[in-house]
């Protein structure tokens, strides 16, 4: 008696699938198509117990092949997608959405819009309620395309107004698109999720029409509502909005605080540090130091002169004032084991000097303070700089030599 619970039919289709998978991974579209041709008869068999049925497999695999195969056309692709829509009513909206994405990738905005409208009007008994989430997405994307149309009209209007024309028809159309877009975009961002593109567009609309309160509320919700997943971009958008609105430094700083917690290496951290350094409040200046040190923990900023200049400026200022050296000590204590190799090696000294003199200058200043005048980095750069008779390097050398005892207190 055989121990096989699965028929050879099932087994051979499973094997077929693994051949398709291999072919897809190696981008052998012809071979994948060959095996898919043999797989499609699975549709005639009942797979209701399986997690992923053949109809879904065929949809996903077929999409990949048709998208990448050199001999496949958009026409064929569309035809295939229409077939897939009829295959599984439980997936109908998902298939529609994916089809729309592909159309957008291909630049067919009109067709995408038509498909979205069609999908929006779809009703199918209880499925409509079950696929509620997908429907919201469909509406949101249509809203997005409405925004896109609005944006085009807006540009036309601006052009015309420059030329001195006023175009009522265009204006009316523009407002029409605004209304349609706003309705759908507003709806989707109510649901907890990551909706960056929708939020940006919606805020853009609101700002244009002067509804700053609504915009602020939307951005606050998006950034601070705990139901929404933690999203650094939300804080970035809020910050940018506040900046545009000319808000006080205080509110700008509070907007960036959380961003520092989530993404310490974010590019806005440089602006953040600049603001904090200038603050009158001691706590803020302390935070500034913490922020800039944290940014330089990440490899992405190693060669960024601006970042180093921020750190250098603050460190220099502290050293000169002789107040708050303990701040530097605190920040340095967790870094002294690895920063020297990470930033201040002799190799890097040579390279930085060759590639970017300003960078090497700023770094040498920091190195000189943190590691003393005898550290490899400082010695090399300052020597090179003096040899090249660059004034600022001579000044740098003098400065570090003068404040060398500081290093001893820091490293203690």
């Amino acid at each position: 008696s055989s121990h096989e619970h699965k028929s050879n039919f099932r087994k051979s289709k499973e094997a077929c699938l693994s051949y398709i998978q291999d072919a897809l991974l190696q981008k052998q579209w012809k071979r994948a198509a060959e095996f898919l041709t043999c797989y499609v008869e699975s549709l005639e068999k009942d797979y209701s117990r399986e997690h992923v049925g053949p109809s879904e497999m065929i949809w996903r695999i077929g999409t990949e092949i048709l998208w990448h195969h050199s001999q496949s056309s958009m026409k064929e692709f569309n035809c295939f997608m229409e077939q897939m829509k009829t295959l599984g009513v439980k997936r109908y909206l998902k298939v529609c959405l994916e089809h729309v994405f592909h159309l957008l990738c291909n630049g067919q905005i009109e067709e995408a819009y038509q498909n979205l409208s069609l999908a929006e009007s779809w009703r199918f008994g209880e499925q409509t309620a079950i696929q509620d989430k997908e429907m919201k997405l469909v509406e949101a994307y249509r809203g997005l395309l409405d925004y896109y149309s609005w944006s085009k009209q807006k540009n036309i209007l601006l052009e015309h107004s420059e030329d001195g024309f006023s175009d009522l028809a265009v204006e009316r159309e523009m407002h029409g698109y605004f209304r349609k877009a706003a309705v759908n975009l507003k709806e989707i961002i109510k649901i907890p999720g990551v909706w960056d593109v929708f939020v940006k567009c919606y805020v853009d609309l609101l700002e244009f029409y002067g509804d700053h309160n609504e915009a602020r509320q939307v951005l606050n919700e998006y950034a601070y509502n705990s139901k929404f997943p933690a999203n650094p971009n939300a804080h970035v958008y809020l910050y940018q909005f506040l900046k545009r609105q000319g808000e006080s430094k205080k509110s700008l700083i509070s907007a960036l605080k959380i961003l520092h917690d989530i993404v310490p290496s974010h590019e806005l951290m440089i602006d953040f540090n600049t603001m904090l350094q200038k603050s009158k409040k001691r706590k803020k200046r302390r935070l500034g130091l913490e922020v800039i040190f944290a940014t330089l923990d990440y490899a992405g900023w190693k060669e960024n002169a601006k970042t180093w200049s921020c750190l250098a400026r603050q460190v220099k200022q502290i050293v000169i004032s002789e107040k708050h050296l303990d701040w530097i000590k605190q920040e340095w204590s967790s870094r002294k084991d690895w920063w020297p190799a990470f930033h201040f090696s002799r190799y890097l000294a040579k390279r930085n000097w060759q590639e970017d003199k300003s960078l090497s200058y700023e770094k040498a200043l920091v190195a000189g303070i943190l590691l003393g005048k005898d550290c490899k980095y400082f010695k090399y750069v300052s020597h090179q700089g003096c040899k090249a008779q660059l004034k600022r390097f001579r000044m740098l050398k003098k400065f570090v030599n003068r404040h060398n005892p500081v290093y001893l207190r820091i490293s203690g």
């Binding site: 008696s1 055989s2 096989e4 028929s7 050879n8 039919f9 099932r10 051979s12 094997a15 077929c16 693994s18 051949y19 579209w29 012809k30 071979r31 198509a33 060959e34 095996f35 898919l36 041709t37 043999c38 499609v40 008869e41 549709l43 005639e44 065929i58 077929g62 092949i65 048709l66 195969h69 001999q71 496949s72 064929e76 035809c79 295939f80 077939q83 009829t86 295959l87």
Partner: protein, 574 residues
């Protein structure tokens, strides 16, 4: 019988049918002029019974279908298979005489036809009582069969027209759904004693007929031809005539979703032979294709092994007596002898011979090979010495290529055919729509496949691997000499290898655990595994079956030594 008139002579209602298809009274043997409509000729292999126009075939259904019985379907299948075998070169006797008679005998013994009151009649009684439509939910059907009184009268071999004549009117309200009249009956579990017909069993019939005629086709070859499509099996129902509508439970009977399994076909064949009370089959002598000496020669060639090994296989065969007529010939019903799998046996003999000469312990065979290689360098005259290493490399490479091809073919196998199958009329339109979509998708992606459309199935061939002596690259080992592994002792050529390892010291009880021994790859040397794998590929069976036969042969071969050892052990214990 639906002829209820009273006999003119004796006023009884007890009718039978003459050869000419006329009703006759059983009580007084009065023959009437009334005739009965007869089964359509299409369904019967070689009869030429005329259809009689009086009274059409039982209720032509609205959809143009007619009533048909499951065994009629199987009869058609067998006919197709026999025709295919004939096209492959099997003698026409097989189809016209042997298979036909086996089939008729089966029908009679299983009371499906050719007897007074065949089992199909009970369908009426059952369907009237049954209310559930789901066969699955009620596997252990209470045997209404036993409740109805069946007169198990002796069946005389009537003419072919007895099919329809002996069946009573089937109730129109058959609630268990099938296109055939007795589809539901077929799937009932209590048919065990009667050896219910299945698709794999059609191959058992074929094999039985082939064995009777001692045709040069082994069971493994037959099954391979089936998978390759040379013998109708998968989707054979598409050759049924239009009028025979297939639906519902018929699908479970006639639609195949797995390739036939050697063991299953083999065992069923023996059950069948016993069930039909067949006498001793024609003798398998040493001039028959199925004799181990012959099959070994074939397999040695196919495995690219030296012809000289044949002497050794013959010696082993002779020594353990598996070449004897009585051992090889099938005696149905004899439960004490082990049933012979000719192909597996021959392959196992070769494996044993290889073990005798090369030991195959992942060590000695390579040593011998190196030794032969050295001697080959200085060897100028005569054929080269056989080098195991070279052989392994050549064969492995080919085997890997063929195995890869086979795996791909299996993955690309198309199971469905044009003829749509639906479980019930209700889902007919859905099925047709699906079929249409499948065809569309096949066209769409077929065009993107780039390569040529699936080639026509290759011609059936008996050899899967072939090696030509004309190849100058030395990849054919048939003519190689075994001198490198043999030595002369007292005028006899013996193996240089003094050792042998047994696959197993004790054989299992086959009836209890299904195997003589248990094959786990990791417990045996790689070379042994390779050799098993080679024949496993050629015969398309699991290596464990070959392993079983190897164990069996070894135990016969070393019987005395083993026996002595056991005896010695018992003596010690005392």
């Amino acid at each position: 019988r639906d002829f209820n008139e009273r006999c003119a002579q004796c006023s009884e209602v007890n009718w039978g049918l003459t050869d000419g298809g006329r009703y006759y009274c059983r009580s007084c043997h009065n023959v009437t002029e009334r005739t009965r409509e007869v089964v359509n000729t299409d369904f019967i292999t070689n009869s030429r019974v005329q259809t009689i126009s009086k009274g059409s075939r039982k209720q032509e259904k609205n959809d143009g279908g007619c009533e048909w019985y499951v065994c009629e379907g199987f009869q058609l299948v067998l006919k197709k298979q026999a025709e295919a075998l004939e096209a492959l070169g099997v003698c026409p006797q097989m189809k016209d005489e042997i298979l036909c008679n086996f089939w008729r005998c089966y029908l009679q013994k299983s009371k499906q036809a050719y007897c007074k009151r065949p089992a199909a009649e009970t369908v009426k009684g059952l369907s009237a009582c049954e209310s559930s439509t789901d066969v699955d939910s009620d596997p252990e059907r209470p045997s209404l069969l036993h409740l109805l009184s069946l007169s198990e009268s002796e069946g005389d071999l009537q003419t072919d027209c007895s099919f329809a004549s002996s069946v009573s009117k089937v109730s129109e309200s058959t609630s268990v759904y099938s296109g055939s009249v007795d589809g539901s009956l077929y799937l009932m579990k209590n048919q065990k004693e009667k050896l219910r017909m299945t698709m794999p069993m059609t191959l058992s019939f074929c094999y039985m007929a082939l064995l009777w005629l001692r045709e040069p086709i082994t069971l493994s070859e037959l099954l391979r031809f089936v998978v390759e499509g040379h013998i109708p099996y998968l989707n054979v129902f598409q050759h049924f005539p239009e009028k025979m509508k297939l639906c519902g439970l018929d699908l479970r009977i006639f639609c195949v979703e797995s390739w036939p399994v050697y063991e299953e076909v083999f065992n069923k064949m023996h059950e069948l032979a016993a069930f039909l009370d067949l006498p001793r089959f024609p003798d398998i002598t040493d001039s028959c294709f199925l004799h181990p000496d012959m099959l070994c020669m074939k397999y040695l060639m196919e495995a690219n092994l030296p012809d000289e090994l044949h002497n050794w296989t013959c010696r082993v065969v002779k020594k353990i007596g598996i070449g004897e007529v009585d051992f090889l010939t099938l005696m149905p019903g004899n439960k004490s002898t082990r049933k012979v799998k000719y192909d597996v046996l021959a392959a196992a003999v070769i494996v044993v011979v290889l073990k005798l000469l090369f030991l195959l312990d992942d060590h000695y065979e390579w040593l011998l090979s190196e030794f032969a290689e050295e001697r080959n360098k200085n060897n100028t005259e005569g054929g080269p010495y056989f080098e195991f290493k070279k052989w392994y490399e050549v064969v492995k490479q080919s085997l890997d290529v063929e195995q890869k091809k086979l795996d791909e073919e299996r993955a690309k196998y198309l199971w469905r055919c044009e003829k749509p199958l639906f479980y019930s009329v209700k889902n007919k339109s859905k099925v047709l729509k699906r079929r249409q979509m499948v065809v569309n998708l096949q066209n769409q992606f077929g065009k993107l496949s780039g390569s040529v459309r699936r080639a026509e199935k290759p011609n059936p061939s008996s050899f899967q691997l072939s090696w030509s002596e004309e190849n100058t690259d030395g990849s054919c080992f048939h003519g190689h000499s075994l001198k490198g592994v043999l030595q002369e002792k007292c005028g006899l050529l013996t193996a240089m290898n003094p050792d042998y390892w047994l696959c197993t010291v004790k054989l299992c009880n086959e009836k209890l655990c299904g195997h003589l021994a248990h094959y786990r790859e990791v417990e045996f040397p790689q070379s042994y595994h390779f050799v098993l794998g080679l024949f496993s590929f050629l015969l398309r069976i699991q290596p464990s079956y070959i392993h079983d036969e190897v164990c069996m042969i070894e135990h016969k071969l070393f019987n005395k030594k083993l026996y002595k050892k056991l005896k010695y052990n018992t003596v010690l214990r005392k």
